[in-house]
Amino acid sequence: MLRRLLKDFRWDVLPVPGRLIAVIFFVFVFSFPLITQHPYYVRMLTYTSIFTIFAVSWDLLSGYTGQINFGHALFFGVAAYTSALLYKYLGWQPWATMPIGVLAAVAAGVITCFPALKLRGPYLSLITLAFPLMLLGIVMAFKNVTGAEYGIPFLPSIAGSRVGEYYICLIVMTVSVLIMWKLTDAGSRYVRTGLIFHAIREDEIAARATGINTIRYKLLAFVIGGLFAGIAGALFAHVRGMVSPGTTLTMTMSFQAVIWVIFGGIVSIYGAVVGVYTLYPLVYLSDRVKDLFASLYEAVPKTSALVPLRAILQFIQEVAEYPILVLAVIVIVILLFMPEGVGVWVRNKIERQCPRCKLTNGAWRRECRACGASLH
């Protein structure tokens, strides 16, 4: 068994840079508490893994099936609020409230479907954008039930310690991403969903003409998307210890998923993971970056020759106070110059597919590692 694993690693992981990076990444995140147990960084990566589930579920729903959903925060918020309300009014514990929250998110997915299936293109985006905002209005209006902008505080934690929470979120994230990756794998021999989702995105009428019940598969996409976004929402509520409308239901929340996915690369599960693991820590650490540049600024001697350097350091320090600005500028640059996304762009640079046997090779090779065909 172990020897088999080693052999696989030797022949199928080492020669493919993308897979090697993925393995190193998972080893890193699973051993992260060994490096530091500082609550600030552990908390950061806990949130990152939760938002990874959220972003990947958006990619599955909107990237793969092409149903551009601009209200993904709905599922997140419904799950978070359902489990919070169940705890507040019925006193249930997280192991009971979270599954019900996830079911509520799935139900929200099904309900969204009825209007959404009739529409497409910009109309679909507009109508899905509306749902979380409608719920936001309701949450704000019923102050005594939901606590309006102060939210519902003091939710029980899912594990005794920060590190325990980190591992629970990380394992849930790994399993969910694996499931979604397999479901969307177009070359899979076991499930057809990946192929059908691609077909629906490329040409829905043609897909229907080949005998695919597109309505049923779009419904399925909404259910899966709602399910995983709901898992993320329920986890978020209990890890953060409170739910408030500002962090669950706003338009920013919905667009954050879109930004992460487009940054990493749409229609590729790994792209969404790349996007969240790059951008979320970037925004989260902006305070630290600011402090770092402030101390650098102090360290530079006040001579006239270094005035431009001091000006640059001060500018960076000021910009770091507005992480959303940095995020928005990054999105614009990515859309204009790397429309396929950073993750996909890098992968295309370091990997090449053999034209004969379709095996992935490192980009530095001249011949395919299996069949010897020329790669140029």
């Binding site: 109508i127 829905e204 999105v331």
Partner: protein, 298 residues
């Protein structure tokens, strides 16, 4: 209560009509859903604040401030269209994301320059006038007058001038318009300029009326999206009529004359307005006056 409902409906409906007109125009002609539209509106309102205010800005007079604001915001709209939107115009999702990112950039830059505090400027004309026994602020009358004049000018421009006819032809069928000797890319640029100018005018008239905050673009964006969906995306008549319908609904829900919402009115008006949009989209996806384009039909 009734008179305030009428006044508020007319004023907010008028402002929404200006905004929705531009939004609908750029969608109808260039097929671009410009989510940064209200960000330009906010930029104009802040520009007005910057030019008029004595302590935070440079304290110019009203008339030059209005002219400078409208011109500068229109130019910014043109530049951002040429630099960003035009390149990815064909991809709906990319356009939506890019315009949201633009709006966020504008929001954060304003936050940087003016902080998050609520700002405002005094009325351009102080005092009030009595009409049929109702006291109406002069600022409201000025707003209504400006809205009416601008809408009539745009209407005449689109229906009578050669350029307006070219714009409508491009909206109808860009390829045929191109064959008839109309430069489509120039028409799109002009339309974007016109749309941004409308947003800027709306921003100028709103500056003394609404509290100015860097997040003030969100709620009007919702409103105008509902309005253009209600009236039919791309339909100009539809967006003006829709604006007054939605202005009325939002005013009634916020003021809550029969006290049925238990004080939740100001929060629920977005909910009710969006509910109206969802119902319209489900029952009649083309809106009241719109037509569904062939390639978008399911």
């Amino acid at each position: 209560m009734l008179e305030s409902i009428i006044v508020f409906t007319l004023v907010s409906g008028g402002i929404y009509a200006l905004l929705a007109l531009g939004f609908s125009l750029i969608f109808g002609v260039a097929r671009v859903l410009n989510l940064a539209h209200t960000a330009f509106f906010m930029l104009a309102a802040y520009g007005m604040f910057y030019l008029v205010s004595e302590e935070m800005g440079i304290g110019l007079g009203n008339i030059p401030s209005i002219i400078i604001t409208v011109v500068v915001v229109t130019l910014l709209g043109l530049v951002s269209y040429k630099l960003f939107i035009d390149r990815i115009r064909e991809h709906h999702a990319a356009v939506l994301l890019l315009t949201i990112a633009l709006a966020l950039v504008i929001q954060e830059v304003l936050l940087w320059r003016f902080q998050g505090d609520v700002r405002g400027i005094p009325s351009l004309i102080p005092g009030f006038t009595e009409i049929l026994g109702i006291r109406v602020l002069n600022q409201y009358l000025l707003t209504l007058g400006m809205v009416a004049v601008v809408i009539i000018i745009v209407w005449l421009f689109l229906s009578k001038t050669k350029m307006g006819i070219a714009i409508r032809a491009t909206a109808n069928d860009p390829e045929i318009a191109n064959l008839m000797g109309i430069s489509v890319s120039r028409i799109l640029l002009i339309t974007m300029g016109l749309a941004t100018a409308l947003a800027a005018v709306a921003g100028v008239v709103v500056a003394p009326l609404w509290p100015l905050r860097p997040i003030m673009w969100g709620s009007p964006l919702m409103m105008i999206m509902v309005i253009v969906v209600l009236g039919g995306l791309g339909s100009i008549k539809g967006s003006i009529i829709g604006a007054f319908i939605i202005g009325f609904v939002a005013t009634v829900v916020s003021l809550d004359p029969f006290r049925v919402l238990g004080g939740g009115g100001p929060y629920l008006n977005v909910t009710f307005v969006l509910l109206a949009m969802v119902i319209v989209l489900v029952v009649r996806p083309a809106g009241l006056f719109g037509t569904i384009f062939e390639e978008e039909r399911l």
